[in-house]
Symmetry: C3
Subunit: 139 residues, 3 copies
C-alpha cells in the first residue's frame, strides 16, 4: 500500500459551483492504483466542496439560489463585516457544506454514482484561487 | 495493512431515515480487523448519509420535519422541476447532509458513540434502491 | 505504513465553538509521521465538529447566532422534548455540520489552510465532556 498527494488549483470567477471531476479522476487514474481511498481537502473557509448532480445545470442554479436565500449577504445579524457583506455568509455556507470528501477507489475507478460530480463551491462574489489537496491511499 | 470493500443495498420505502448500523457493524466484525478506518459512501444525489440519535424514534420524525420545512417540496424558487416537486429539494437536502462518513475502528469495534446510529436519509417521496459503498482499511 | 489512535476530551462550558487545533496538531507532530491521513470523529449527537475561521472571534459569535436562528430552541414543531428545549435543536445542528473530518498530512504537517481552525461545536446549553477520537494512518 502506498500514498500519493497533490494540490489542485481552482481559479473561481465569482460565486458558484465549479466542476473538478475530470481533473480529479485523471489524477487518480494516473496513479495506477486499483483499490484505495481518495480524500479531497479544501484549504479555505469561504469556499467548500460538494458532491451533487452534474447533469442539468439548472440544479447548480437552484443550489446557489437556495444558499443565497438561506444565508443572505449583508444579514444585519452579522457583526463580522470588515471583509465584506459576503464574507460571513461565506463562512456559514462553508460550515453547512463540506471541507473534505472521502471517496473509495474500486476496480481502478472512483466510486462516484452516475450522476455525481465533484464541485468547488465558491461562496465569495469575487474571483479567488482555491487550493484543494488530494490524498490517495491504496494499492 | 489491508483493504476490504463491499456495496450495501438499501431499499427505501419513501422519504425518511433508514437505520443501517447493524448491517454495517456485522460486515466490519466479519473482517477480523482490530484497528482501521471505515468509509461509507452513498452513490446518489437525492439520498444521503447521517449519523444521529438511534434511541427515540421521535428524533427521526423531528429531523424529517425540520428538513421538510427548511427545504420545502415545490418551492417556487426552483427551476429544476422536470423530475418532480421533491427532486430539487432532495439535492439540497443531500448537500446539507453527508455523502460520505469516516469512522475509526478501535479494539475491533467501530468508534460509534452509545447513542449514534448510521442512517440512509432518503429524500425522495417514492421508494428507491440506494447503494452505499463500504471501504475498510486496517489490520 | 502504520496507524495511531487516541481520544481527546473536550470539557465544554455551554453552547459554543471550542478550538482544539493545538491539541490535535501536537499529537500529530508527536507521531513522527510525514505523510498520512488524520480522521477526527466525535462520539456524540448533540455536539459536532467544524473547520472554520480561527482568527476573528466575531466569526464564532456570528456562526453561533446563525444556528440559533436557523434551529431555534423550543421550536413548537419538535415532539422530542423530554431532554430539554435545546436537545432536538442540538441533534439538528449536528446533522447540519460534521461528525467526522479528514485532513491529509503532508511534509509532516496537517494540510490546514492558514485561517482554518478545528473546533468542537457544543450545541447543548449546559457543560459536557465531549470525546473526539483521532485516527492517524501513514508513514
Amino acid at each position: 500500500m502506498r500514498q500519493l498527494t497533490t494540490k489542485l488549483k481552482c481559479n473561481t470567477r465569482g460565486r458558484g459551483l465549479y466542476d473538478i471531476t475530470q481533473e480529479v479522476t485523471r489524477w487518480v487514474a494516473a496513479s495506477g492504483m486499483s483499490t484505495g481511498l481518495l480524500t479531497l481537502y479544501i484549504q479555505h473557509t469561504s469556499a467548500s466542496l460538494m458532491i451533487n448532480e452534474n447533469y442539468d445545470p439548472d440544479v447548480l442554479t437552484d443550489m446557489q439560489a437556495f444558499f443565497d436565500r438561506l444565508v443572505p449577504d449583508g444579514d444585519p445579524m452579522f457583526i463580522h463585516t470588515a471583509e465584506g457583506r459576503d464574507d460571513m455568509p461565506a463562512h456559514v455556507r462553508s460550515a453547512l457544506t463540506q471541507v473534505n470528501l472521502s471517496i473509495p477507489l474500486i476496480d481502478s475507478k472512483l466510486a462516484l454514482g452516475i450522476w455525481q460530480g465533484l464541485f468547488v463551491f465558491e461562496h465569495r462574489l469575487h474571483p479567488y484561487t482555491r487550493h484543494v489537496v488530494l490524498h490517495l491511499l491504496g494499492g
